[in-house]
Amino acid sequence: MDSSPTPPPAPKGPLKSAQQIEVDESKVWNLWFTRREFLTLAAWGAFLAGLGGSLLAALRFFIPNVTYDPPSVFKIGKPEEYAQGVVDERWKKKHRIWVVRDAAALGGGMYVIFARCTHLGCTPNWLEGQNKFKCPCHGSGFRRAGVNFEGPAPRPLERCRVALAEDGQVQVDVNSRFKDPKDWKRPEAYLRV
């Protein structure tokens, strides 16, 4: 597989078959493609790699590094400002959360429920008279603790991460939420006050 540009000199005498021509094995690189083929493959490979990379870059382009959504961590006041046994709706409009305080008999602890139905994301309403959260989109119903018991909602309402800030106020992070009731006992999801 000679890729030299100049043809070999005309043989003197009858042509020998390839098996009769003596070849010094140590001087031949026994590759299974030519230089031309290698370079062609490399060039196309580079082109495709570039194209593929551009495609990935294009996909990454659509994921912004910042959004202009309102900030997600905020303080909601001191625990004493929330009555026991009450589902408090004062932050529902501004932050889309309910602040629930267990009745004294249950320990009086606090948790924050994110007001987004786990079915398709509509905002449920707290129906005091019926002691439940009710979603207007498809009729999902949730108990006070957030557990779903009627309608198409597949899982309970989520709880937001809560913490006690240095100034004694309750700090909520709406973007960090706990879906599984198993996680609700954790101190990040339930403030014992």
Binding site: A83, V86, E89, G129
Partner: protein
């Protein structure tokens, strides 16, 4: 299809299109408001004696207030609002009244305030039906005369001493007298039996209000007024899903009182900050705090506390009782307070007021009683508590 069908279709479609084109051109060049403008110019010419004024080209007029996110096209028809010569004309040609308040019109220039911030209605609209309403999907129809005073609260935090807002002061007195704050909460303060009053007029007409028993148009104003007149008729309850009848007492209000209270409730909503219709800070007029009243005796002070906290809402005027509390184990009515001095020592009374009390159900399978004695310890100082107990003792005839 046969050839003749195609031919007919061609004829019909072509002539149809030409016809409809003419219709749409007519609709566009002769809109409803042109009549009003033409009539206005005619009347203006008559009033001023200047014939040339009768022939002015019709044009949509608007007041654009980007800071308030409003555009008001009311002046397309209401051309005479700023022309004093048109004071005797019928609407929509009439000058804007000055309400008998000197300086009112100067302090509320049209090109800075617009119209809808006080009168509501649909500013961007250019037809009577859509501008005034009520129309579907515009939840702020034009306010009638008796309710416009509510809009003062949008900018004015000083309605207590504001000339022209006297009806709001009257309404507030009625509000305190009836003890509404005893059941409802307002701007986050008060009781949780009834809904937050500042949100009433921010709710969605379509989904959050039941008009089954309400006559008249499906507007929030109409619902609220009917509800004031007879709460149980408008909210009779749905036992099947556990929704009880309205716990709001029927106060036997007359039409004037109903309108006052409706205007007041609307003002509660309007005085809150709104992302939807912001008010620039410089438009706001701050209020002055109410002066601290002086009391000649602890009983008088106690009476003031009794009113301020809305005890009237559940225990009735002077603690006379008479307010229903359904399915309560102690009986069908909230206990009257007239004879508390017989049954409770002052310390016992203070404890109940501080800690509250949840009544049990008379019928276990019925709904929970809507009213309960809340804990007031955060809302009362010790002196106020003492005064209140003195007042309660004084109720014994």
């Amino acid at each position: 299809m046969r050839r003749s069908v195609w031919n007919w279709l061609f004829l019909l479609s072509s002539f149809g299109l030409i016809l409809m084109f003419l219709v749409t051109v007519t609709q566009d060049t002769l809109p409803e408001w042109i009549r009003y403008q033409a009539e206005y110019h005619r009347r203006l010419a008559q009033v001023t004696g200047d014939r040339s004024k009768a022939f002015t080209l019709p044009k949509v007029r608007q007041i654009y207030l980007p800071e308030m996110k409003r555009v008001d096209r009311c002046i397309t028809c209401h051309m005479g609002v700023d022309n004093p010569k048109m004071a005797d004309q019928p609407q929509p040609y009439r000058t804007h009244p000055d309400l008998g308040i000197p300086g009112f019109l100067v302090k509320h220039p049209f090109n800075e305030i617009g119209c809808t911030v006080c009168h509501h209605g649909q500013g961007p609209a250019t037809t009577v039906e859509h501008a005034h309403g009520p129309v579907h999907h515009w939840e702020e129809p034009l306010l009638r005369k008796g309710l416009t005073v509510a809009a003062c609260a949008t900018c004015h935090q000083n309605t207590r001493e504001l000339k022209g807002a006297e009806r709001l002061v009257q309404a507030r007195a009625l509000f305190v007298e009836k003890g509404c704050i005893g059941c409802h909460n307002l701007h986050g303060k008060g009781m949780l039996v009834g809904p937050e009053l500042a949100e009433t007029f921010g709710k969605s007409v379509g989904d959050q209000f039941d008009f089954k028993y309400v006559k008249g148009p499906h507007t929030l104003i109409n619902w609220v007024e009917e509800h004031f007149k007879d709460p149980q008729a408008v909210v009779p309850g749905y036992p099947k899903i556990g929704v009880p009848e309205s716990a709001m007492p029927n106060y036997g209000l007359d039409d004037e009182e109903v309108e006052l209270l409706t205007a007041l409730t609307l003002s509660f909503y309007l005085e809150e900050e709104s992302e939807h219709h912001p008010i620039p800070a410089r438009y706001r007029v701050p209020g002055t705090p109410e002066p601290e009243p002086t009391y000649t005796s602890p009983v008088e002070r106690g009476a003031a506390v009794f009113t301020k906290l809305g005890c009237v809402g559940c225990h009735g005027p002077q603690g006379r009782g008479g307010i229903r509390n359904m399915n309560m184990d102690l009986g069908e009515e909230v206990p009257a307070l007239t004879y508390v001095s017989d049954g409770y020592s002052k310390e016992e009374l203070k404890a109940i007021i501080r800690d509250g009390r949840y009544p049990a159900r008379a019928d276990r399978h019925g709904p929970s009683p809507p009213l309960w004695m809340p804990s007031w310890k955060e809302k009362l100082t010790e002196e106020e508590l003492d005064a209140l107990v003195e007042y309660l003792y004084s109720l014994h005839p």
